[in-house]
């Protein structure tokens, strides 16, 4: 109840501040077991994506996030754990941990995930960094999961690297069609295809910045 109210407050705040609007390239039916994978420029990315989902989809959609960040204090533990129900991944390599297994377990229980396959925030001039292999392994582990590319635009115009003042521009999210699956595709080909599917959604892809 309380978590729900806080969640709604966060959604309202994020959408008002950024004026965010979602565009759906292909109609997506209501279902769990979906992985939304998006470009990552800002700390606000997943909140924005999460806010743009319909309420019933949002309730079962969990961000994949770094454990070090969300466990650093009590407030973050509450918001990350109870409001967003984040799947926390330990970014420090250690024995016996299985991030893909964690994500697969969440999908198999009927939840959906928000994943940033670049692995870290893109602070370079490149539109999109090369993808880490997690998305590929997750697709192998849960073959019936639906992989949906989401391009988040304008958050990087709001606050370019090295600037102090954010501009109040309207952000938009382009939800693409789910990635088709090809049996036996190797890792590099799959990751390149997923990355191109995401780049293809950028409305300003033909414009130099």
């Amino acid at each position: 109840m309380f978590e729900g109210l806080i969640g709604q407050a966060i959604v309202t705040f994020a959408r008002t501040l950024t004026g965010a609007h979602a565009w759906w390239r292909a109609p997506l039916d209501a279902r769990g077991k979906r992985v939304y994978f998006a470009n990552h420029n800002s700390h606000g990315d997943f909140v924005l994506l999460w806010s743009c989902l319909q309420a019933h989809e949002r309730r079962r959609t969990r961000p994949v996030a770094g454990a070090d960040y969300w466990n650093s204090n009590a407030l973050k533990r509450f918001v990350g754990g109870r409001v967003f129900r984040a799947v926390l991944i330990d970014r420090v390599k250690r024995e016996g941990q299985d991030p893909v297994g964690q994500m697969a377990a969440a999908l198999n229980s009927g939840d959906s995930l928000i994943l940033f396959p670049e692995g870290t925030r893109n602070q370079t001039d490149a539109r999109l960094l090369p993808f880490k292999s997690g998305l590929f392994h997750l697709g192998e582990a849960v073959p019936d999961a639906e992989l949906v590319p989401v391009w988040i635009s304008n958050l990087n115009r709001v606050m370019p690297k090295g600037e102090l003042i954010p501009l109040p521009l309207i952000c938009s999210l382009q939800f693409g069609a789910p990635l088709p699956r090809f049996a036996g595709e190797d890792k590099a080909t799959f990751l390149e295809r997923a990355r191109n599917a995401l780049l293809e959604l950028d409305p300003d892809r033909n414009h130099d910045d």
Binding site: E163, L167, L169, I170, D204, H207
Partner: protein
């Protein structure tokens, strides 16, 4: 407790809002009847859009009503906020580069609030030249300091244009409350009510006449929905509406008709200009804030072109 209906009716702003609400209630009733009889409760593109538009009108009239309660300060704050939302839509759709960041930050956080502050302190000599002169000179200086020369003139022009349209032109609406007209003191809010009713009424009437009688497209390359029938029917009826509302204003009935005609024409042409920009950028609407209408800028495009002309006509001949 008894309510003194006479004194309520004699309160001019209250009377205007009572009539506006009655018109909207009538529109909502018609729309509900259409949904029932024509769409038979099924989804129907035109009727659903009509209902969304009318619902948005309830919100807009309500917001104006709240602003009018706070009189001069209320309308200045309201239009400063509208100006902010409009500029945000404009800049979002405009291709700028990293080198414009400083100029844009100054536009949003300095030029915009200062403009409305100057209107608030009624410093006409400065608010009427700040953006056309000082912002015009300062913004390209900031862009030049970032040392990015790609499409420089085009970028500088876009930022200036956004400020002129969304901030400078729009600020003429609340500035109407600062005009001092002999024998009209304390009633300036009604100048704003007259302008908004006539300009927005003209948009609505053009839409209605276009939907009912529209056949000949007027500018097919700019807009798929503007027709000659809509334009003529809408502007003539909105001019008649303006003439009928002359008692709200310091104008005679003939003057009110001429002024209404002029602001309707300006509003219509403003809509065409803003459509041309949208077509060039390949979008249908400026934004999505107002359901059924598109963005804030889609709703006020005619107002921004009409307001400065209306303001100066009154300032020149009535003060």
């Amino acid at each position: 407790m008894t309510i003194d209906w006479n004194s309520l009716w004699n309160n001019e702003p209250l009377r205007v809002f009572a009539v506006a609400s009655a018109v909207l209630a009538f529109a909502s009733t018609i729309a509900a009847l259409l949904r029932w009889r024509v769409a038979k409760g099924q989804p129907h593109g035109v009727i659903d859009n009509l209902i969304a538009r009318i619902n948005a009108w309830w919100w807009m009239v309500g917001l104006l009503g709240v602003a009018f309660l706070f009189r001069r300060d209320g309308v200045i704050v309201l239009f400063a906020l509208v100006s902010f939302l409009a500029l945000r839509e404009f800049i979002t759709l405009t291709q700028t580069r990293r080198g414009d960041h400083a100029a844009l930050a100054v536009s949003f956080f300095i030029a915009l609030p200062v403009q409305f502050f100057l209107v608030w302190i009624e410093w006409y000599g400065l608010w009427s030249i700040m953006i056309p002169v000082y912002a015009f000179l300062l913004l390209p200086i900031l862009a030049a300091l970032s040392a990015d020369t790609t499409r420089f003139l085009e970028r500088a022009a876009k930022v200036q244009w956004g400020l002129m349209i969304c901030v400078f032109c729009l600020s003429h609406v609340p500035a109407l409350v600062t005009l001092e007209i002999n024998g009209y003191s304390g009633r300036n809010l009604m100048l704003i009510a007259f302008l908004i009713i006539v300009v927005q009424g003209s948009d609505v009437l053009q839409y209605i006449f276009g939907k009912l009688f529209g056949k000949h497209l007027l500018a097919p390359r700019l807009s798929p929905s503007k027709t000659w029938e809509g334009l003529i029917g809408g502007i003539l009826s909105a001019t008649a509406l303006g003439a009928a509302l002359y008692s709200l204003t310091p104008f005679t009935m003939q003057q009110a008709a001429v002024i209404a005609f002029v602001v309707c024409i300006m509003g219509f042409l403003g809509g065409l200009v803003m459509s041309a920009i949208k077509r060039d950028r390949g979008v249908k609407d400026w934004g999505h804030l107002i359901e059924g209408h598109g963005g804030v800028l889609d709703r006020i495009d005619s107002l921004v072109f009409a307001a400065p002309v209306y303001f100066h006509v009154i300032r020149f001949w009535w003060t």
